[in-house]
């Protein structure tokens, strides 16, 4: 039974796809008759089936070598596009994570979107994401990964734009789409460029090719950078990080997915492509640099945000930056562990903060406060998520961070130092969010705040509880290091950095010694963090501005020069005709004159060869 399910694991993306198609049947006319909810239930059921399928298949693949299945798609000329399905414990595990998070998000949405009419659209898009991500982890091909990522970009656009009658949502959706598309197009360039070099797009074959490849380092650097840009867009890395911030205009339940697993699609492709990146030291160095900048910048910006969603989402960028560092230093397993622990912790964090936002009707951190007594369940889930995120034993975040720190500890001590700083900053930032929501005085917005409906609370509690149990799961999958091989120095350093960040955050934001709102000594510095290093403004004045200007110039050129020239020719001929018509005078003498002049001209022309032979003309 289990092995049959494992063999048919490629069916998992089909369930949500079916759910998506069923959801789209709820046209407005049908919604008017049945209400919007059935569209959501249908999807939750298909997601549940996908989760069960993956769960049951897992025992059959655990500990086994990867097997492949090939689904032919298109064969044209010398191009063979076959969808390779990779069945391994890793891919099935990823399926469980994705479908599990999806189920949580969909149940959560039942409560969170209770009053919404756009269920059919919303659930169809959630299902589209689910199907896309499941297909992505199963597929072992760069080309199909690119295709799926591009479709998910469209999904982001539509999902962020769900509440489409708000202007901020509309611009947010636009920016999210275009920023991600920039990354996708660079990825496409990389996809195009790598094929003539490697003659394959299969990750496994690319890895084999990379072992013996002899490529011009400059070419490889360019190709590698283009390929890196795709994951950069997906993982919201600097300078393509803006979309994640804008995407926060979308509904909360989709944020659960986006912050936990959707951003991780980039990290997944990154890990798969690591052997190719490793061909060029420039690319690896760039990956580390980008990851470090984003991680450091993300944690700093997060501290400056007053919107709870944004404060959390910049931490997402920061943790995805850590996966870039991990891949850049060749620690693929650490990258995958970070993805796993981050996804679960982030899920719990987003669900619990969503639960606060839902009935306090604000996501402004300065309006919240003093909720610990009123919302103990939410608070505990939040704490579980927060502690699971940062490096604090025995929770998951510690072990993934340890794996990374252990990997760089000998070779790159600078990176280790950076990790400690980032971890401390992240701990500070998340404590700050906790403090602003749960500690301090009660605000007018938080006066009445009961726990939510069960569809919101149950997934949230499950999320928190799963974070707490994650070390046990990791233990059973033997993902934890032995006590003997444990690098105790690094572990201690990490623990100290977490404690430092947590306690500093607690002193500032939970304690009462410092007046709120906390301000930095320099207003300019505070604004720099609050306004995301002014990236939106930077974009507007550079890329957006130049495209705008060039398009206006082109339009002007088209309208007045190209078309103007054509119209001029037209005008000239009309003018010529209008002028010439006055030559039709009706006087015989005039006509005779024209005939005579014409005749002379013709005779001259005809006899030109004869005349040219005369010595007078030719000069001989």
């Amino acid at each position: 039974m289990n092995s049959f399910l494992a063999e048919t694991i490629w069916f998992v993306p089909i369930y949500p796809l079916v759910g998506m198609l069923l959801s789209t049947l709820w046209f407005p006319s049908i919604t008017r008759r049945t209400g919007p909810r059935p569209a959501g239930y249908v999807n939750a059921i298909t997601t549940f089936l996908a989760l069960v399928h993956s769960l049951l298949a897992f025992p059959a693949v655990a500990g086994q070598a990867a097997t492949f299945k090939f689904i032919p798609w298109l064969q044209v000329a010398d191009l063979d596009l076959t969808f390779p399905v990779m069945i391994s414990s890793l891919t099935v595990g990823a399926l469980i994570l994705i479908t599990g998070m999806n189920l949580a998000a969909q149940i959560y949405a039942v409560g969170y979107m209770e009053m919404d009419w756009g269920w059919a659209r919303f659930y169809a898009l959630l299902a589209m994401f689910e199907a896309g991500m499941c297909a992505l982890v199963l597929c072992d091909s760069l080309f199909f990964s690119y295709m799926i990522l591009e479709v998910l970009t469209l999904g982001t656009y539509l999902l962020v734009g769900l509440w489409l009658n708000q202007p901020l949502v509309v611009t947010g959706a636009r920016d999210a789409f275009l920023t991600k598309r920039v990354g996708d197009l660079f990825l496409l360039m990389g996809v195009l460029a790598i094929y003539p070099l490697a003659h394959t797009w299969n990750f496994t074959e690319l890895a084999t090719w990379a072992q013996t490849a002899q490529v011009d380092p400059n070419v490889m650097a360019l190709v590698g950078l283009a390929l890196l840009a795709g994951p950069m867009g997906k993982c919201a890395q600097f300078p393509l990080h803006l979309w994640l911030d804008e995407a926060m205009e979308g509904p909360f339940p989709s944020t659960i997915l986006r912050n936990s697993v959707v951003v991780a699609t980039g990290a997944w492709v990154l890990v798969k492509m690591e052997p190719v990146f490793a061909l060029s030291s420039t690319v690896m160095a760039t990956a580390i640099a980008i990851g470090a900048i984003t991680a450091l910048g993300g944690t700093l910006i997060s501290m400056g945000q007053i919107d709870v969603k944004r404060a959390i989402s910049y931490l997402v960028s920061a943790y995805m930056g850590l996966t870039f560092i991990a891949v850049g230093t060749g620690n693929n397993d650490a990258a995958l562990l970070i993805v796993l622990t981050h996804a679960l912790a982030m899920g719990a964090l987003v669900m619990s903060s969503g639960s606060i936002v839902l009935n306090n009707i604000t996501q402004d951190l300065t309006q919240l406060g003093g909720l610990w007594n009123k919302r103990p369940v939410t608070g505990l889930s939040f704490v579980a998520g927060a502690l699971g995120l940062i490096a604090l034993p025995p929770l998951g975040g510690f072990w993934s961070m340890l794996a990374l720190a252990d990997g760089v500890w000998q070779s790159r001590p600078v990176v280790l130092g950076l990790l400690l700083v980032i971890n401390a900053f992240a701990a500070f930032a998340i404590t700050r969010v906790f403090g602003l929501i749960f500690a301090g005085e009660t605000n007018p917005m938080t006066l009445r705040s009961p726990e939510n409906l069960w569809p919101v609370t149950v997934p949230m509690v499950f999320g928190g509880a799963f974070v707490l149990h994650l070390p046990l799961v990791m233990q059973s999958l033997s993902l934890l290091p032995d006590w003997a091989t444990l690098n105790k120095d690094v572990a201690l350093l990490l623990i100290w950095s977490s404690i430092f960040g947590l306690s500093l955050g607690a002193v500032v934001y939970i304690g009462t010694f410092i007046t709120k709102p906390v301000t930095l000594p320099s207003k300019a510095l505070q604004d720099l963090f609050a306004y995301d290093f002014y990236t939106p403004r930077l974009y507007r004045s550079s890329v957006v501005g130049s495209v705008d200007i060039v398009s206006r110039v082109t339009d002007w050129f088209d309208r007045y020069l190209v078309d103007g020239f054509v119209n001029l020719v037209g005008l000239a001929s009309i003018f010529g005709g209008e002028t010439l018509k006055y030559s039709t005078t009706g006087k015989t003498q005039f006509y005779v004159l024209t005939i005579a002049v014409g005749l002379v001209l013709i005779v001259l022309l005809m006899s030109w060869s004869f005349l040219a032979d005369l010595s007078l003309v030719s000069g001989n």
């Binding site: 407005p28 044209v76 611009t171 195009l192 190209v562």
Partner: protein, 502 residues
């Protein structure tokens, strides 16, 4: 069989045009639908009887006509023309379905549309250069009338511009054809005879350049494009569908069939410049589209950019890129048709095409949700989102041409990015945003009005998910075309090198 595709619509046009006055417009429309349905059936039959393994001309017909001129009635179809022929049949039906039920002067309108159907089919299947030219020019009259009678407010300007431009295009092409026949001292305009011509390279360049200008106007390529925005915008929806979906393809078909097919050597010599031209066209079209304020004009400019991809694929001359180009012709025909159809619906219901006025049409209750969703689909197909037919065609072109022209190909990829920019502008302004409740009393979009877009959307998605069904008909011919170019160049080199060897 091919003759039926030409003459049934022309006879149908005659019947509808000269039907007695009491025949109602709805009747005429029904008759036209019937004829085009028959054409689609016939095309489907052709598709299934087509021998996939055979890259040569199939279903050939030959009737001697004016032998002294070298003009014979000679028809045939191969992988290049087969799908375009089917696209023609399909878009004729779509166009008729997109026309208003109560259109003015219905009998004239529908008979002109059917005349186009016959003429275009003739041009696609003609295997004699002069016969092709006759059909090619025959198009002009119905299109001119359709634009100038049923067009928008500046219709006479647009129609005249269109007429003059295409007349120049026709002159260039005729000149190239005549030059080819005279200089190669052939006694006939038959395509297969002329294919083996061995003209000096300099002369080939001149003739090819004439042809590029001629077909370049029709496609259109920058800088011969200024008739396009005016004509597409002023033409009514059904006519715009035919103009963008079919007429432009006549240009690309001509370039591939006659430019690449008859002057392979000159073509491969010129190809780096052609690729640059293509890249400029792509960027120019996309940039100009971004600045537009009228959604129909925006879609019209998008067409200029997309035609550039076809030229790029042709210039690259690998079998993959040529197959991609031919697929792109079909894909673009479908996508542009659905976009024009939907823009037409929006204009008819909301009463404006201005980006600054339109807003919030996705609203499920007061807006046009179904039309908006289809518009999102169409725009995304045009922007090359995978899973829709535009992507795979573009991808084949890119992959095929990357090795030969990396810079131009990468510019073309940037062009797809810019395509996304203007389509997002379009969608954001029309579909998204807040619907003004006080003015939004739009008439309902009836099912009949949605049928054309639904048919096209189904095809776009189906062919996007299963591109094999698009590529299988094209592949043998595409590969053979590229192989012919390389052997021909090799043969020329061989003849040149013979004296040296002796």
């Amino acid at each position: 069989m091919l003759s039926l595709l030409i003459w049934v619509p022309i006879i149908g046009a005659g019947v509808i045009a000269f039907a007695p006055g009491e025949v109602s417009g709805a009747r005429a429309r029904l008759g036209a639908i019937g004829v085009s349905g028959f054409l689609i059936g016939l095309s489907a039959l052709l598709l299934f009887q087509f021998d996939l393994g055979n890259p040569e001309m199939q279903f050939q017909e030959y009737i001697p006509w004016i032998e002294s001129l070298g003009l014979n009635y000679q028809l045939g179809v191969d992988g290049l023309s087969l799908l375009l022929l089917s696209l023609n049949s399909l878009l004729i039906l779509i166009s008729i379905l997109s026309s208003k039920i109560d259109i003015e002067r219905p009998r004239l309108f529908f008979s002109l549309i059917l005349l186009i159907a016959g003429g275009v089919a003739g041009a696609f299947v003609a295997q004699n250069l002069l016969l092709f030219f006759l059909f090619y020019e025959l198009e002009l009259i119905p299109f001119y009338l359709l634009v100038s009678i049923w067009g928008g407010s500046r219709r006479s300007y647009a129609a005249t511009k269109f007429l003059i431009y295409t007349a120049v295009s026709g002159a260039c092409i005729l000149l190239a054809f005549l030059g080819l026949v005279w200089f190669s001292e052939a006694s006939t305009f038959a395509y297969d005879t002329l294919m083996g011509q061995m003209l000096p390279l300099g002369l080939q360049f001149v003739l090819l350049a004439l042809m590029l200008v001629g077909f370049g106007i029709k496609i259109p390529l920058v800088p011969f494009h200024t008739w396009l925005p005016d004509t597409y915008v002023e033409a009514s929806t059904p006519v715009a569908i035919l103009l963008g979906g079919i007429l432009a393809k006549l240009g690309t078909y001509g370039i591939f069939r006659f430019g690449l097919g008859l002057f392979p050597e000159a073509w491969s010599n010129l190809s780096p410049y052609l690729a640059i031209w293509a890249a400029i066209s792509i960027m120019y079209g996309a940039m100009a589209a971004i600045a537009q304020k009228d959604i129909k004009r925006m879609v019209a400019y998008s067409s200029i950019g997309h035609m550039g991809y076809i030229l790029l694929g042709g210039a690259a001359l690998t079998s993959l890129s040529v197959i991609g180009s031919i697929s792109q012709m079909v894909a673009h025909g479908l996508i542009l048709a659905v976009l024009f159809n939907l823009v037409g619906v929006v204009e008819a219901k909301v009463g404006t095409r201005e980006l600054d006025v339109l807003n919030g049409l996705m609203n499920p209750l007061r807006g046009l949700p179904a039309t908006s969703s289809l518009l999102v689909m169409g725009a995304m197909a045009s922007a090359g989102i995978p899973g829709l037919v535009g992507f795979i065609a573009e991808f084949m072109i890119f992959q095929g041409s990357y090795e030969r022209f990396p810079i131009q190909t990468l510019l073309a990829v940037v062009g797809t990015g810019l395509t996304a920019v203007y389509f997002v502008i379009l969608l954001n302004r029309t579909c998204f945003g807040k619907l003004d409740n006080s003015t939004s009393y739009y008439p309902e979009v009836t099912f009949g009005e949605q049928v054309p877009a639904l048919i096209l959307a189904t095809l776009i998605i189906f062919l996007g998910l299963q591109p094999t069904w698009l590529v299988r008909w094209i592949e043998p011919t595409g590969t053979a075309m590229v192989a012919a170019v390389s052997t021909e160049s090799a043969a020329q080199v061989a003849t040149l090198s013979v004296p040296v060897v002796e």
